[in-house]
């Protein structure tokens, strides 16, 4: 049988208090182990380590921890701990499925017993709260019971150290719960029992109310304590598909390596832990069922899983998602239809039908590199500055392209022209837009725009796909508007528009990149672009927001609000001072 782990402790921590003067032979607490196989007989052993280990004795069959010696004041003093009135004794114990001579405390069946050693004598009956008599005052350990296992005792409810404190009291326990729960109390042993195998897929947690009834000659008192019991999961459900086991995938413009397509979900009512990392519970293994070399080189399946809570019972379950992944960039001319089968196997499911077959119907369509228009007409003013953008040019659907790249170049159609006219063609160049798929036509030589012999400019733009070298071309027609002048007329040099702080300056400057030849003033209300002064940076470290007017010199930018300017002495103020002097 798969999944056998051996005996396990439903809780791996116990706490109790011991006192000076408690005699040898006093029972302190009882530990319990649950069976994983019916034939197991739990045997309990203390792990050897701390010197005070010899003060205690753990009964190998019952799991009851006894005092081996009478605790004395000097035992308390002997403990090399801090000087508080309570010292901590930590014991470790192990459970084995059979008697053993050689005890090695390794593996997961180790529990921790923490005893608070109080430097006082056990309180008398008159000084003992009924709550203290019934339940340990700080017991935070929560029992966990594995589903599909055997019935048995989980916990001793009596406080064994207090059994003889109030000999005239009769103490009994019972268990209650709002919803039916397979738990009961064995009245003879006062142990809490699980009375039926549990199913995590039915209930993950049971909220129990433990009721302790204390009877004296005259009074019956009930003390209550709540107890949560959690159900541990094991792989007892096969994977299943809810709806379709097939994904139809069409690949066209996104041909980039690493892109994912389609999604098929496989459900499993079991949990998939993410820690520890080398988990084997509910472990899924997927296999691509294809012998086609092309398919193997091109596609992969990526599996991820998440946890989801089912609506009615708030029971957690696992959803495995499978997506198609491109292992390489696809060429633009690849054109094919394939079906890919993927076998998902829940390897830890002990039954026979722990697999699901998924299908991906994949259609790869080719991408045609072509321009939508045969001819493109643009107009450009002759006053345009160098680097002014004339137009964007792109092949069809280029905005959707991913994983393929198109470069653009300019060609002059007719070379049988005079040298003068030939030189006009230096006016325009094309640049590749970074990250994008288009080309930018820009003014390369602004003087050529002014020459009388340069009239309408005609070019051919050629787009070339990088891998296949497939080309497409279109005609570009640029009409020059405005009057032709002597080229040397504008002697004013081109400056950066960004360095202008005031509107008047800005609009009178021949700025680089200005389509009209003049810089353009942008008046915003709250936010503009900016480094010194109040600002926010964008993702590319650009000025996403700035306070006031932002202007930039080649190496730094300033964002300033108009009404705080002129505070420091500028050229104007210097002039005034100088004149006054």
């Amino acid at each position: 049988l798969e999944g056998v782990r051996g005996l396990y402790f439903p809780q791996n921590e116990y706490t109790e208090t011991v006192y000076v003067g408690q005699p040898a032979g006093t029972p302190i607490l009882q530990v319990h182990a649950m069976l994983d196989i019916d034939s197991e007989r739990p045997c309990f052993y203390l792990c050897r380590r701390p010197p005070y280990n010899s003060w205690f004795h753990l009964d190998v069959n019952t799991g009851i921890l006894f005092l081996n010696k009478t605790l004395e004041e000097r035992d308390f003093a002997l403990l090399n701990q801090n000087s508080w009135s309570v010292k901590k004794l930590v014991l470790r114990a192990i459970v084995l499925p059979d008697f053993s001579e050689n005890i090695q405390c390794v593996g997961r069946n180790i529990l921790r017993i923490t005893l608070d050693f109080d430097n006082a004598t056990l309180p008398q009956c008159a000084h003992t709260d009924l709550k203290e008599l019934c339940f340990p005052h700080r017991d935070t350990s929560i029992p966990h019971i594995t589903e599909n296992r055997f019935t048995g005792a989980i916990r001793q409810l009596r406080r064994l150290t207090r059994i003889n404190v109030c000999p005239n009291y009769t103490i009994s326990y019972n268990v209650e719960s709002e919803t039916p729960a397979p738990f009961a109390v064995n009245e003879n042993t006062t142990e809490l029992l699980v009375t039926a195998p549990l199913d995590r897929e039915e209930s993950e947690r049971y909220r129990l109310l433990l009721v302790c009834t204390v009877r004296t000659d005259t009074v019956i008192t009930k003390v209550e304590a709540s107890l949560d019991i959690f159900v541990n999961d094991e792989d007892d459900n096969a994977p299943y598909v809810n709806g379709t086991d097939t994904a139809d995938v069409i690949i066209r413009y996104n041909r980039k390596k690493g892109s994912t397509f389609g999604k098929v979900s496989v459900y499993d009512r079991d949990l998939t832990p993410i820690y520890p990392i080398d988990q084997t519970q509910n472990k899924y293994v997927g296999t691509l069922l294809s012998n086609d070399q092309w398919v193997k080189e091109t596609f992969d399946i990526k599996g991820t899983f998440t946890e989801k809570t089912t609506a009615p019972g708030h029971i957690r379950e696992t959803v495995h998602n499978y997506q198609l992944v491109l292992k390489r960039n696809l060429y633009v001319n690849e054109n094919r239809t394939v079906q890919l089968d993927y076998l998902v196997n829940d390897t830890t499911y002990p039954g026979l039908d722990g697999t699901v077959l998924l299908h991906f119907n994949i259609t790869i369509l080719p991408v045609h590199i072509h321009f939508s228009n045969i001819t493109h007409m643009y107009s450009l003013t002759r006053r345009a500055s160098v680097y002014a953008q004339v137009a964007r040019i792109y092949v069809e659907n280029c905005q959707q392209f991913d994983g393929l790249s198109v470069t653009y170049r300019l060609e002059v159609p007719d070379r049988n022209v005079s040298a003068d006219v030939q030189s006009c063609y230096t006016a325009i160049s094309i640049a590749q837009a970074p990250d994008e798929m288009w080309g930018v036509l820009y003014v390369n030589d602004s003087e050529a725009l002014h020459r009388r012999e340069c009239q309408d400019l005609q070019y051919i733009v050629v787009a070339k796909e990088e891998h296949t070298q497939l080309e497409a071309s279109t005609q570009i027609h640029i009409r020059l508007d405005g009057e032709a002048n002597k080229a040397s007329q504008e002697s004013q040099p081109f400056l950066s528009c960004a360095a202008n702080r005031w509107r008047g300056d800005c609009e009178s400057v021949r700025g680089l990149g200005a389509t009209t030849g003049r810089c353009q003033w942008r008046q915003g209300t709250e936010k503009e672009e900016p480094v010194i002064g109040g600002h926010e940076r964008g993702l590319r470290n650009e000025i996403q927001a700035g306070y006031g007017t932002c202007y930039c010199y080649p190496n730094n930018c300033f964002c300033e609000k108009e009404d705080v300017e002129e505070v420091l002495c500028n050229d104007m103020c210097k002039t005034i001072i100088a004149t006054a002097l």
Binding site: G533, G534, E536, Y547, C569, K574, A578
Partner: protein, 107 residues
């Protein structure tokens, strides 16, 4: 007498400080966080050189073009405080650099 004379001699270009809200800086940030702003203030007569004297004389006798009058020595930060980080009212962090003086000098 001696005390005040000693103080008077020390009152050149010195570091002063003022307690402000970040929103008082006039940089457009809205935040109720507070800070100590340190600034440089005071005359720089003591560090005047012959250069400064000549400049003053030339400007006074109008032998320099009016536009060209260079600045006299100024009390300015020669080192800045550590960066200032604060959370604004929209719960966005900002860091302001070179915002407050650490040491002053006549430059």
């Amino acid at each position: 007498g001696r005390m005040s004379r000693a103080n008077g001699r020390g009152q050149g270009c010195v570091l002063k400080q003022i307690h402000l809200n970040v929103s008082d800086l006039g940089l457009g940030y809205r935040s109720s966080e507070e800070m100590i702003f340190r600034y440089c203030s005071g005359p720089c007569r003591k560090s005047e050189t012959n250069y400064d004297k000549i400049l003053y004389n030339l400007a006074h006798s109008r032998k320099l073009p009016p536009k060209d009058t260079p600045q006299q020595a100024c009390c300015r930060p020669i080192a800045f405080d550590d960066d200032l980080s604060f959370l604004d009212d929209s719960l966005i962090y900002h860091t302001v650099r070179k915002h407050s003086a650490r040491r002053c000098g006549c430059v």
